[in-house]
Subunit: 597 residues, 2 copies
């Protein structure tokens, strides 16, 4: 009944028409022509819709169970996991030296959206493995790389990130897990880690845990944390499984969503571990790949929004209910027996809901590609400006896309009315699965604090100044078309002005008293997020106008233009509300005595 149409066309538009990756970034994408990339996306989309999606609902119902100390994943997962692996999809942007395909992240991002839409709980096993791959690749010795990377790339093994303990999540200074030096440069790791995604399962031969722990005698706080490789099974240097390590699963959490992904309490009881990177530099090793990891979580928000939108859209075109007062679609058919009612997509409030989703999703997708492109430019070309800008953008990408992605699934659910509340429709699952992205990989509150506390001020504020200059230059060079000016340039200019005002406030009052800045941190992040989407929609609008004038694929570009207009008119003005909040400072937030909460 439900189908998923991978948004291949939209990605191709963004990659090759909007960002013109072949022409403008030929140093990276010279080998990635449209003709080469489109079949990859089509094939990934086919796998997502035909193989992965059918496992999604069953995975939610079945969930993961702990049986005799071992985690059992949903029955359907094994086959889909293996098909993803045998298609070498997880290794798309891994280094060929270790068996990967060396394709830029920008292309892999599209594939990630498809797989995340189809079954995010399953896809997370691969996302985490990729994080472990990247961290070992960045910090491992050559022996560690040759031992662990090939099987991670092949998805023969998966990986996990172990940071959180019962007494500490955000505040890693309080970590209690111990790593005591042992024979042959190994360590004995002891402690409990909680909320470990993909902590145990039956999908792969081995699991490579990356574990933060303290070596006795190391400095207090975050400066005394080291990172360790702790495999579920000890392996030989060439990757053969030897004996089980002292790692056990204490519990599988019962969660709101992503039921198919096992979130575990992990107990390390003198487990054998190997130092990754330098002693006491564990945090910076763990967070080397932070941009990629947070990007992947933002993508989860987008991917859930997309699948939920597709189901809502389908429903709105199928469900006959109520007679609109005014019919504006010429193609509307009165399609029930008695001709008294119409499909609900004819109703303005249903369209309003669909457009809130659609205009967010398509704008966010452009943001996804833009930020991936910057990451690639940083990695391939060592472009410092790209690195700096993407570091600024990443907390926004993670938090804005997960917040709005969740909201978007809630709106999609609303389109279905009562059916949306019933699990059979799967809308509840999209809402429940989307919710986690606002929490893990640093809560969205932490992203906001990172944005105003670190990213804005990095390199003397250079990157936010660069961003503003870029948008102003776009505005100044924008078309003279009056419609475009009214519909895009004017609102963009106004939103940018709000961003500048909020920055003025932060530098004037936030430095004097950080609580003035922190009280509005989340609002500032959302303000910035809207400016980014407004800027991207304006670029899309301009491009669309050009293509319409060239009489190319007019229907497609006309829809883009109208969807962008909706965003500029109805979503972007939120910057004013966010600005008002930022400007209200600390008083109304900090004045109440905590006993009066």
């Amino acid at each position: 009944m439900h189908t998923y149409q991978p948004p291949v066309k939209d990605f191709m538009f963004i990659l090759y028409d909007l960002f013109q990756i072949n022409e403008k970034h030929s140093d990276i994408f010279a080998d990635y022509s449209k003709d080469m990339v489109e079949p990859i996306l089509i094939e990934a989309g086919r796998l997502a819709s035909e193989v992965i999606l059918p496992t999604n609902k069953a995975g939610d119902i079945e969930g993961c169970t702990l049986e005799s100390g071992k985690v059992k994943t949903p029955n359907s997962f094994k086959e889909a996991f293996n098909k993803i692996a045998s298609g070498e999809w997880p290794s798309l942007n891994c280094d060929p030296e270790f068996g990967g395909q060396g394709i830029p992240l920008t292309i892999a991002t599209a594939v990630g959206e498809f797989f995340g839409s189809a079954n995010v709980a399953l896809y997370i096993y691969h996302v985490l493995s990729h994080g472990v791959y990247s961290t070992i690749k960045a910090h491992g010795t050559s022996k560690q790389k040759s031992t662990f990377l090939p099987n991670l790339v092949k998805s023969k093994w998966t990986g996990t990130m172990n940071l959180t303990e019962p007494q500490c999540g955000t505040d890693l200074a309080m970590i209690k897990t111990r790593a005591v030096p042992s024979i042959n440069d190994s360590y004995k790791i002891s402690g409990q880690k909680i909320y470990i995604s993909a902590g145990d399962h039956d999908l792969a031969e081995n699991i490579i845990h990356l574990v933060l722990a303290k070596i006795p005698g190391s400095p207090d706080g975050v400066k005394g944390i080291s990172l360790f490789i702790v495999p579920k099974f000890i392996v030989s240097p060439n990757g053969e499984i030897l004996n089980p390590n002292n790692v056990s699963v204490g519990k599988v959490e019962r969660k709101m969503g992503i039921h198919g992904n096992a979130t575990c309490v992990m107990n390390y009881d003198e487990a054998t571990g190997y130092l990754l990177g330098l002693e006491n530099k564990g945090l910076s090793c763990m967070f080397t790949m932070m941009n990629e990891a947070r990007h992947a979580v933002g993508m989860q928000g987008l991917s859930q929004a997309e699948i939920a939108y597709q189901y809502a859209n389908q429903h709105a075109k199928d469900r006959v209910q109520g007679k609109p007062i005014v019919l504006t679609d010429r193609d509307t058919k009165r399609n029930n027996d008695t001709q008294t009612s119409d499909t609900i997509i004819c109703h303005p409030d249903i369209r309003r809901m669909l457009l809130e989703q659609k205009s967010f999703i398509e704008g966010a997708r452009a943001f996804a590609i833009w930020s991936s492109l910057l990451i690639d430019k940083g990695n391939y070309s060592n472009d410092e400006d790209a690195k700096g800008l993407v570091s600024l953008l990443i907390p926004i990408f993670k938090a804005f896309l997960s917040d709005k992605g969740f909201e978007s699934t809630v709106i999609a659910q609303q389109v279905l009315g009562g059916q949306g509340y019933v699990e059979d429709s799967e809308m509840s699952q999209f809402v429940r699965d989307a919710r986690i992205a606002m929490i893990y990989e640093g809560t969205n509150g932490i992203q906001a604090i990172d944005l105003i506390g670190r990213k804005l001020t990095a390199s003397g504020g250079k990157y936010v100044v660069n961003f503003i200059r870029e948008v102003k230059s776009f505005i100044n060079n924008s078309s003279n078309d009056e419609i475009f000016k009214t519909d895009f340039v004017t609102p963009l200019n106004s939103a940018l002005d709000d961003l500048e005002k909020s920055l003025d406030y932060l530098s004037k009052y936030g430095l004097a008293d950080p609580n003035n800045a922190l009280s509005g941190a989340s609002d500032f992040l959302h303000l910035f997020g809207h400016v980014i989407l407004g800027y991207l929609w304006s670029q899309i609008g301009k491009k669309s106008l050009t293509r319409i004038n060239e009489n190319r694929d007019v229907d497609f570009y006309q829809a883009k233009f109208e969807t962008g207009k909706f965003y500029m008119k109805r979503s972007l003005p939120e910057t004013k509300l966010r600005l008002a909040r930022v400007l209200s400072g600390k008083d109304s937030v900090m004045n109440i005595n905590q006993d009066r909460f």
Copy 2:
């Protein structure tokens, strides 16, 4: 671990200090002194926290099952249900003629919030029964009343509302269920009803279904719908159970939340039914009690927000994590071993989240009492202005409180970080349970359409004009206190201005093309909702200032004043965003061809 503190003090403040029900509405509340009402609220609160709340989580986990055609509710429900019944709580505002206690809705509203917070899935059985009681009381023959009401009042029987069918929810013109005249003024009812809350269960002896159906030969559409009483068991005139009726349960739905309330597919197979009210007047009979029913659903949003807030607040005061840059609370204690970290309530972004919840909840609670008061004035004193005003307010109350109530639970969940996503913390349940209130009893989109399509224009727009006049008069008579003016009067005035501008737009462009109004209906409703809460917060602020000056309970009133300030500064400016959307009209919503969604 988790405790629930019934907000008795806040209700007492709203009833006796803010609205002064004894003095200002003595015709209704002369007998309801503070000394009489407070013990009622305390006792209801005790029942909620000690008896009802402990059943909530187990009810969510266990859910309802269909076994051999009968619905089994969660094990713990029976005892709590019986204690609520034996305390005569559901009959609080029922007519003494049928065994009720005749207490005004305004008082019962407080009790409803407590029970809803403690276990909304359980409480809904009572809410629905009350709806059936009210409908039979309003439209039943004296024989119907004496047969059905006493046992409904006693909660010996419960009731259900049967409107939706697979092909129709909002659009009841498409109802297919048939009612064929039979012997002794009875009818044979045949058809299928879906999404019937409390459709079957094992908590009471009998279930009285109110069923919308068409009598053969009746007019097409909504003018041919009649309402029938269809008991699960046929009863004698004095209420003795005789034989089973031809009513069966086809399915119990698997839902996102309210698992303890059985949502059923009900099959009527020549079931015996009795016409309630006049033939073909079924819809107006069913909707007589619409204000009360929609009020009850708005209360669900508030009640879930309150319990979620309490859990989040508790967590924020317990959880030690991170060191705030600036400590503004003089009473903050450095309370972990190493003195490096503090409770998270010291962090501005956590406070921001708590205050978003708190300022919504306390404002909404004042709205709950204000609207109940208007319903009581309509019922007791036949006050036409009160009736008109509350009809205008009810769609806003239902939709605004359920939308914001849901949002508030999501924010509460965020305060807990990873713990919030794990079902053990119960935060997921509050989110999932709150979600339904946005959908049933008319989706929030339908509320918005009702508001702009019917309520605004009723009696020539008299009631919205009255409302605006009332707020203006408050503004003009407000205190000369400069702080109060800056913090409350100025933002209220500005929000009221936004309301007037949106009304101007609706009357100018909405009448010419209804799609201009309908495209902004939901935004208009939210704009109006904020103005109402802003108005109520201003009244609370003014009262608080008076009490502070009188040196009475200064801590309490100071917190009220500060919480109100937060609302006025940070939530109320949303009216500007909503206005921008209303003013954007139909173009960006209706222009895209439906094939391009």
